[in-house]
């Protein structure tokens, strides 16, 4: 329910270290950043299209998603974020946000003043590079999503998204990758995969019927990780993990 972490930004550090090495010194500097902790409801906006960013929210608890809509209101979810992820790296250096970020669940965020984070990025090379690399990895994930939506069928898309989510949770020590909480409605899953909710429902049902997916309320389980991975055509390369961990489940 609550993280066992002692400092709200510990998970951010963990996240940055997935992609770039940090020393004790950098840990201390990051922990010294000014921030304000805030509870947020499900659906609350962390960033709104057109906003001039003033602060950078880091997820401490709960999940968030990035979203934008077409002129006639169709919504596309662009990414899903888990605790430890800084939701504003994509906007912080731009004059105004080009998309929205909303909470998927109730949660807690730590808000860091934008300027403090910019100053730190510019003054400390190690941290600056870690933030830059993390941002570039996000861009890599955007590209994989484009491939996913553009060139995979519904079944593959959904399997791929689930695999990515599972692996990212495990990388953040938020649970084993074969069983996790997926606090997302089928409508949101549809918006993330470029499908309709009805079709998402049918695909999920058929994955269950095949025995490669189990669902119980919001809990998802993969009885056979390898098979799920194959269905989703999932490979970790695009996540750019520095040292591939020794997941039982990841070959």
């Amino acid at each position: 329910m609550t993280t066992p972490q002692s400092h709200p930004l510990d998970l951010l550090i963990k996240k940055l270290e997935t992609h770039a090495p940090l020393g004790k010194e950098e840990h201390a500097i990051l922990c010294d950043l000014p921030f304000k902790v805030r509870d947020v409801d499900a659906g609350a906006h962390l960033v709104r299209e057109g906003d001039k960013p003033e602060r950078c929210a880091v997820l401490v608890e709960g999940y968030a998603y990035r979203q934008k809509t077409t002129g006639d209101g169709a919504r596309q979810i662009l990414s899903i974020h888990i605790p430890g992820e800084a939701v504003d790296f994509q906007n912080m250096f731009l004059a105004e946000a080009d998309h929205n970020v909303q909470m998927l669940t109730r949660g807690v965020v730590a808000e860091i003043p934008r300027q403090a984070l910019i100053d730190l990025t510019m003054s400390n090379r190690v941290i600056g590079e870690a933030i830059l690399v993390t941002t570039l990895v996000e861009a890599s994930i955007f590209r994989e999503w484009t491939l996913n939506i553009g060139r995979r069928n519904a079944r593959e898309r959904i399997a791929h998204l689930l695999c990515e989510f599972a692996v990212r949770l495990e990388l953040q020590d938020l649970g084993p990758n074969v069983e996790f909480e997926l606090p997302i409605t089928q409508e949101q899953l549809a918006d993330a995969t470029g499908l309709t909710p009805v079709h998402v429902n049918r695909v999920l049902k058929s994955l269950q019927a095949e025995g490669v997916l189990e669902r119980n309320r919001r809990t998802v389980r993969f009885p056979e990780w390898q098979r799920m991975r194959d269905i989703g055509d999932f490979s970790m390369r695009y996540l750019h993990v520095r040292e591939t961990p020794t997941f039982a489940a990841i070959s």
Copy 2:
């Protein structure tokens, strides 16, 4: 046919200045970067998935595209690049490339050693920020493409892509946005929009039949920019242009 620019990197400077201001001093520093000019054939790889980047190619002449494929060979084009764009900002700070970049046409690239560019990025704040911002704008374009492919129909997708291309060319002074060279096959257009070549062909035909698109060999013309823009649900916000230019055609 050839650019009237005197220095191969002039167009890169123009590109960076679209998103961040640079002074005379920075111009000079950028022009002093070491680089090697090279002719490249259509289809030549500039980056290959798995590569450890050693240099950063800047397009001087010709077009390029970014691409990755699914396990069973379906290809998705992730972005298209025009002269002045640095094709490797997305990879330069990562250990290995997660996608491919290929020439769309025959062309000329200026290759800058990776380390020189990294050193410059880290040592000069103004240029570092310009490169960072330009990279973030690329990420914004990836997001818009995800929306395009995930939530727009074939006709809208194609119109949107054409509008984006037109505007980016005009921003780089490479031609008026209502008439330009589109050196891309219908198969590539399909790979960029998540469609099949056959369907792309039919949509193009129908846009022509409606009179909103004219094609003559590789030249494309929009008789009514505003109508094309509406069809593609196109807005410039996601391109993050610093000062919106006074295009005749852009309201």
